[in-house]
């Protein structure tokens, strides 16, 4: 493998976002006809590096060399023209259009009719059929993308990326919602690509996948390059320790919470939509951290949003402190002392153009209305300052706009927002997504502290170590159903994965 020549070189790439140095002098060398795994924790900079390669971001410094020639990539079109294609981590389909239109977007086949060029639908259909046949995928080219399952959409994106006949294909977490069969299938496709001399850059968190498919592995941490190794020299343990950069035992704070009586009981909760959650029953205790694991598309977010009154429920009951709670809206949920930290911090969490103070108090303004219907500014400032101090939010002042804080500090402000509503049950949906390693530890400490003080925590996490390291019990979902609940002492990565794919065909 190592005798293959270097096809792509990214030299000393740096990229800075306000408040975060996302990439610091990173170098990546990828050989033709090989699979190069790019590894690192969430927020290590892998996706950012690939977005620079694909023209979605421009790097602040550094150069990209393809086939020995320095190239400038100004936008995605340039990247595609140079023979670089990408399977994006966040799926990028056009929802109300057909599969084939999504695949040939930007390069529709056309027929000349005199002066005008019309789309050659027949050719497009045939080419799409042929593409799926070559890849042995069963997708109808005419299906409207919005009506497909997540795993089918992901397969479509894989097919699209290979259809460019690129020399370099970037796959950013291509298996996040694939079943085991489909993963095996993808690996056959990758080996075929390798034989054709294509360089595949493969990003994944799944160790077994990496060790099975990769020839070389580059590990990143906190936006910096740690090193590149031949995959055969590596083991899961070595990779993890290099990714984390310190002993695994120190990644999570000591927890001294003691689960007490049952606070919330959910019975056979079922969504009116047949692809969503079904028959989910579980309990949460006082002072307990209940983790929820599963793959993308397992409907975990949908479930907790239903608990919070954001989604409709067809049948099933929610009991709080033994009494049935009819939760129809977030207002009801707040009245039952439930809080929800949403998954998409930027979309459904922060108000970017408002100050830390406004963001902190947003869920709780009613508490500051004085007798003459104005807001009590003095108490607002006091409470914000108290929150900042308690959660150790690093901000110049409470007047700073929240968008100027780092992800970790934004998340702390959001936690502060919900703590001010004095919740008994805190639902955290991917609480450390996109947060750098140091700040993660602080968030974990806050969670552990809250549990110790008797709050019940429900935490969705897609990061296996976080799930295993922070939960008292782990409940795993697969395709909307509860596939099992594991006690912390019995839980292993393998068991969780097995449950997470239990109902997949």
């Amino acid at each position: 493998m190592t005798e293959n020549e270097i096809l792509l070189e990214m030299n000393k790439i740096s990229k800075e976002f306000p408040g975060v140095k996302a990439l610091d002098n990173v170098t990546l060398k990828v050989r033709a006809g090989s699979v190069h795994a790019l590894m690192g924790e969430n927020g290590a900079g892998k996706s950012t590096l690939m977005k620079c390669l694909f023209g979605i971001y421009r790097q602040d410094a550094g150069e990209i060399i393809l086939n020995g020639e320095k190239i400038e990539i100004k936008d995605s079109k340039d990247a595609l023209d140079y023979g670089i294609s990408m399977i994006h981590q966040e799926l990028h389909p056009v929802p109300y259009r057909s599969v084939m239109e999504n695949i040939w977007l930007g390069r529709f086949p056309v027929k000349n009719f005199g002066l005008i060029k019309l789309i050659d639908e027949k050719k497009m259909f045939k080419d799409t059929e042929q593409l799926f046949r070559d890849l042995d995928m069963d997708i109808n080219p005419n299906t409207i993308v919005r009506n497909m399952s997540v795993s089918k959409v992901q397969s479509m994106e894989i097919a699209k990326a290979t259809s460019y006949n690129s020399k370099v294909i970037v796959m950013d977490e291509p298996t996040s919602s694939l079943t085991e069969n489909e993963v095996g299938h993808l690996f056959r496709i990758i080996r075929e690509l390798k034989n054709r001399g294509v360089a595949v850059i493969y990003i994944s968190h799944k160790m077994e996948e990496i060790l099975e498919i990769a020839d070389e592995v580059t590990i990143m941490r906190d936006g910096r390059l740690i090193g590149t190794w031949t995959a055969s020299e590596l083991t899961t343990d070595i990779i993890i320790s290099r990714m984390v950069g310190r002993d695994l035992t120190n990644r999570f704070p000591e927890r001294s919470n003691i689960p007490g009586e049952v606070v919330m009981k959910v019975e056979k909760l079922t969504s009116p939509f047949h692809k969503s959650f079904k028959d989910v029953s579980f309990e949460v205790r006082k002072g307990e951290i209940l983790g929820i694991g599963g793959l993308v598309g397992a409907q975990r977010t949908e479930l907790v949003e239903a608990l919070f009154g954001l989604r409709s429920v067809q049948s099933g009951k929610i009991f709080i402190n033994g009494k049935e709670a009819g939760i129809k809206s977030p207002i009801d949920a707040k009245n039952h002392k439930i809080a929800l930290l949403t998954e998409e911090r930027r979309v459904t969490g922060i108000f970017p153009a408002l100050t830390v103070l406004e963001n902190t108090l947003m869920a709780n303004l009613g508490n500051y209305v004085t007798s003459c219907l104005l807001l009590d500014e003095k108490r607002r400032k006091e409470d914000t300052e108290k929150s900042i101090e308690m959660l150790r939010v690093k901000t110049p002042s409470f007047k700073t706009l929240i968008k100027d804080l780092s992800g970790g500090n934004q998340q702390k402000v959001l936690i502060a927002r919900w703590l001010l509503t004095e919740p008994e049950i805190l639902i955290l949906d991917e609480p450390t997504r996109g947060i750098d390693v140091g700040a993660k530890y602080e968030i974990y400490s806050i969670i552990a502290e809250l549990a110790k003080n008797g709050k019940s925590i429900i935490m969705i996490s897609s990061e296996m170590p976080e799930l295993l390291g922070m939960s008292d019990r782990i409940m795993v979902m697969c395709e909307g159903r509860l596939s099992g609940i594991l006690d912390n002492k019995d839980a292993t990565q393998e068991k969780v994965m097995q449950l997470a794919t239990q109902f997949m065909s």
Partner: protein, 334 residues
């Protein structure tokens, strides 16, 4: 089994709601007064809807990209005045250009359409290159175009007098017949067919849906979003331009206030016809049905003697309910 059938019926009703509304509307007016179902009335409705169809198609391409175009009405006014000012009979007393020789019909028509295209291109430029939100960008050009048109309209010797005395070959475009079909209707049909081809059979059309449906997806698929937007806004402008010419020809005159608020009628027809204001969705048959619904209301309700103020209220209710129903198809299921 019954369940499946009732689901199918529901699906059919919701997919074709707009056409059903149109039929029900026509039938209920016909029940009140059977004379409504006559060829001459159908012809009148089509005649009145023709320019509106062209404007609505222009508004629709912009809506489908996820934008809005408020400049439509004022562009109609501008090109109505422009074309009329150059197509007056040579013996008309208040001629805009007293000494100008008679121009061939196509020349002023092309100049007017080009003027519309330039305004549209400017809209696209402001939206695509300077990232001004379409609502604001076209609000600006709407006001500018009205200003420019009024200055032109106020030039001596016209001095803001309504432009009349239009040549027969010109007014023939708006009120003439070809094989007993109004020429203006034929033009609208041709434009609709071309629009259907653009929407469904060209790269530009598919890109338009992609940009409105998921701009980021369009970008990472290598589409030049800015250039596509520029062309689409320019096409919209050219369509308004053509509509302005036809409006002057149909009414036999023009003033600087022509077309005022037509953009809102066009947007209303589009959304009633199933075009999504958040982009990515819309079909030509739907837009035609949307325009016809308003045509039938305007004509039919007057025909059966409904007070015009009541007609406004009915129109408003139709806009809101149509969209409230239609949007249920697309709402994120929660």
């Amino acid at each position: 089994m019954n369940n499946i059938n009732s689901n199918r019926i529901k699906e059919f009703l919701s997919q074709n709601a707009i056409y059903i509304v149109l039929v029900v509307l026509v039938l209920s007016i016909a029940v009140t007064d059977p004379r409504f179902l006559s060829l001459s009335i159908l012809r009148d409705i089509l005649l009145q809807s023709s320019t509106r169809v062209i404007i609505a198609l222009g508004a629709a391409v912009v809506l489908i990209t996820g934008g809005t175009d408020l400049s439509a009405g004022r562009v109609v006014g501008l090109t109505a005045v422009l074309s009329a000012s150059m197509l007056q009979t040579s013996d008309y007393v208040r001629r805009f250009f007293p000494n100008m020789p008679d121009l061939p019909l196509w020349l002023p028509v092309m100049i007017a359409i080009a003027a519309g295209l330039i305004v549209g291109w400017l809209n696209g430029m402001i939206v695509a290159k300077f990232n001004v939100p379409p609502f604001i960008a076209t609000l600006g050009t709407m006001v500018i175009v009205y200003g420019v048109n009024s200055i032109y309209f106020n030039l001596p010797p016209n001095d803001s007098q309504p432009i009349g005395g239009l040549r027969d070959d010109f007014t023939n475009l708006g009120s003439g017949y070809f094989l007993s079909v109004p020429i203006i209707v034929i033009i609208a049909v041709i434009i609709s067919v071309l629009a259907w081809v653009l929407f469904n059979k060209t790269r530009l059309g598919k890109n338009m849906y992609a940009i409105g449906g998921n701009r980021e997806a369009a970008k990472v698929s290598g589409i030049n979003v800015g250039r596509n937007l520029l062309i689409i806004y320019a096409i919209a402008g050219a369509l308004y331009g053509l509509a302005g010419v036809l409006e002057a020809a149909r009414t036999g005159g023009a003033t600087n206030n022509y077309g005022n608020m037509y953009e809102l009628d066009a947007i209303a027809a589009c959304v009633v016809g199933g075009v999504s204001t958040s982009g990515g969705i819309g079909t030509v048959p739907g837009i035609l049905a949307g325009v016809l619904i308003f045509g039938v209301i305007n004509y039919g309700l007057t025909f059966i003697g409904v007070n015009p103020y009541w007609q406004l209220i009915i129109k408003g209710i139709i806009i809101v309910t149509a969209v409230a129903f239609d949007i249920r198809k697309y709402l994120a299921k929660k």
